[in-house]
Subunit: 261 residues, 4 copies
């Protein structure tokens, strides 16, 4: 089943979360439940989490639920879950990202769909947001694999700029459970109130981010991330989706929305 | 550059060898030299050898030389170079093979070509030849990825039978440097004379295998393997090719030869 | 704190369980709770589970609770959690086991104790029980590292025989939650009733095994395994310990009991 | 055979090189030849190179030749050969270093010797030289394992300072094939003449460094590194040793020289 098609003109927002991050006998988040709530699934590709069998199960479940599949590419560091920066060269990183996209796409196609977008994971997400070389490597790999793929990155990040410069579709990502500063940046985790835990507050934050998007600038948020590895992840994700729908939004994969002319 | 097209009716034989089996800073065979001699390249996919950057370099070199790219899929065992049997379940093995094909295909396509065939490596080569479950897993993964891909396996093996039963193209593989028994099996390595080392003898053996093929049964040898990890690998490969050409054979990728009607 | 010393003449039984089997961000069993119940801890050494930081945390917790530390050595197969047979040669396997014991001992000694015994994990447990070559490799590694270390293996297994022949201390292991056949073997999992799930039944089984030990033959059970990776593992372990204590047994590390003269 | 004991008062210098850096079927340097030339062997421990069987072979060969064994500890990054920085926390790094020392020591002791010193490899060598946190992690692990172990680090590095502050023996390391600046630092590789390739020039450089040591300050060079992974490594190592001996130096393991009172 392909991602849901969105009526043009509708107030639409995408919800994404990380899934398929188990490894062999080890599990991570409540994938099955989350895949019934979100519209886009960032599927781990075996470098920071996931393995071939997790990838098949996760792709199959995403496709069955009409959830768009994204390649959640990371540094090759299972022991560190991709959260530790690894100083790879641009060619090494380009090749590592291309490898992961290709491997995941095999499972997506076997299930009848394909990879729709790429979102870096963990330390690579931060590195590609802040460093031109890492952003360039991710963009190069995506462009080589399929220039129709979109990229997910933080608003104002180097990755978003590099993707746009290369002609790739890109979606700026907001976090429903993180407080923002007045200038639009994430409040550092070290500050009180930086991480929201109350489902109602998270729901309000999600709606506020989605409202900005509806009338927003070019890099306004196009997809909202709900975390999968925090306690109560499923409950929070439900609250976010319910709040968005009460506010009149349709939750749908951003990759299924036709780009504006 | 695509694999060379072969004139119908010509005496044609394929030469394949294993390449791209380095890992990070470690090298294995004389890839560059061998890719100027053979017509098909079995490219390691990161499970028993190879890594994303080796895969790119190897695919690029194969494509530049007009050599067909095959996925050399193995058990996930870098420390053992894929030569130790790992008791994977059929679903696990199917997923592991599919992952490797997908990853390699990304590099082949980036270079302008695509994966043309699959040849299991090491312990998986032997397991898929002898066991129905392992043969079924390899065939399932190939069929899921692309039913146009061919499979390389020993004559009379379960893998060859399973591939044919599934409607996949398949090529039986001969070894130019191994002695054969009267009934067509490989002479066990423990017997004297089982492994040929004299280039002239290896050349004669190659021609004999190719002659059988020209008028042979359905599972006659369609591709000859020259080893890449033995001393003098390059010299032996050159001798094999020269002997075949002197005997009137054209060396060309078996995947480029139109299947008989 | 060293393992508790047991009064000679007491009815004593050891309870062991697998701990430290997380890997990086992934968790496995309820280690903290189990380490308050058992007397011997089989600590994963990084090959099938565990990593350096898990090993430190687990050794520290075991030592703090007076629980004896055993090296839970496995095949190098994180993706398969050590449950898939890997056909290693005797020298390879010997070296792999020695490596794991040495690494774990560094953490045990840093915490003020040392490795007391070795118990193979998963597929290696079964292989060393049934195959002489694998049993020989485990025994060789243990003997090389420290001939004072004990070995844990199934009653009647090749590993138990090989350990005894090499002069190593050894303990036969029983399973409180598995049904036994009349001749003392484990009932195959495929048969109804093979796996006990009722805590009371498991407690009775534990007491029966311990009673046999008290007056039993040379390879009577000396240590009982409680599983850590099944639902309700903590509750079952508590039930087993309570049943043993009600029956008059002292639960203590078998490595702390002086060998009979 | 223990490391050679050095007569007090003699002009003595240590030659070290990296060995055991193969992995499975892959080889790296000419270990056997180098172990007949140097006095100290930095043995890879499985994280950047090496595996249990390489470790046994390398320890056995070092011990047979009277060469002191050092733990060549690295970041867990086989694909990058430990040459890429991995941003590990201090506890993670401490645990990773302790694990590697413990594993190697098991092989050294099986051969009748033990690990004598620790030298970080590649990116960890540079990180521990420049960053206090990484230096602290290495020193903590060494101290935990055995406070008699020495540490090898560049002159003036944070690791050398931290080791001294912790009461560990330490040896400053010079490079016979690298040009030095007037203030004692390594000339950057980007400058012409930074890397010496002429064996005679390398020999003269080695003697100059050793002469400085004989009458030098506290962090004068105590061990000279000869590379194992460059073309002609064996020939260069021979030239260095011959030049030192012609200049009246005895080549001997620094860990075998009694510390000054």
């Amino acid at each position: 089943m392909p991602p849901r098609v969105v009526t043009v003109g509708a107030r639409v927002i995408d919800l994404n979360c990380d899934v398929g991050e188990g490894f062999g006998s080890w599990r991570m988040g409540p994938d099955e439940a989350l895949l019934r709530i979100v519209s886009s699934a960032n599927v781990a590709c075996g470098f920071h989490g996931g393995d071939p069998s997790w990838m098949r199960r996760t792709c199959d479940a995403a496709i069955a639920g009409g959830v768009a599949i994204g390649a959640h590419v990371g540094f090759p560091d299972l022991a560190g879950f991709g959260r530790r920066h690894l100083e790879m060269s641009v060619p090494e990183l380009t090749d590592a990202v291309l490898y992961q996209i290709g491997a995941l796409d095999a499972f997506a196609r076997t299930g009848g769909d394909r990879v729709r977008y790429v979102k870096p994971h963990g330390a690579l997400y931060h590195a590609a947001a802040q460093r031109e070389d890492h952003a360039a490597a991710v963009v190069a790999a995506v462009g080589e694999f399929d220039a129709e793929l979109a990229v997910v990155a933080p608003p104002g990040s180097r990755l978003l700029v590099a993707a746009a410069a290369a002609g790739l579709a890109a979606a700026a990502e907001g976090f429903a459970d993180r407080a923002y500063t007045a200038d639009g940046g994430l409040m550092p985790r070290s500050q009180p109130g930086a991480v929201l835990t109350d489902p109602d507050a998270i729901g309000r934050q999600a709606v506020a981010l989605a409202e900005d998007t509806a009338g927003g600038p070019a890099d306004a948020v196009g997809t909202l991330c709900v975390h999968s590895d925090t306690p109560g992840a499923e409950r929070v994700a439900r609250a976010v989706r319910a709040a968005l729908e009460r506010a009149g939004f349709t939750v749908a994969a951003f990759t299924a929305v036709p780009a504006a002319p």
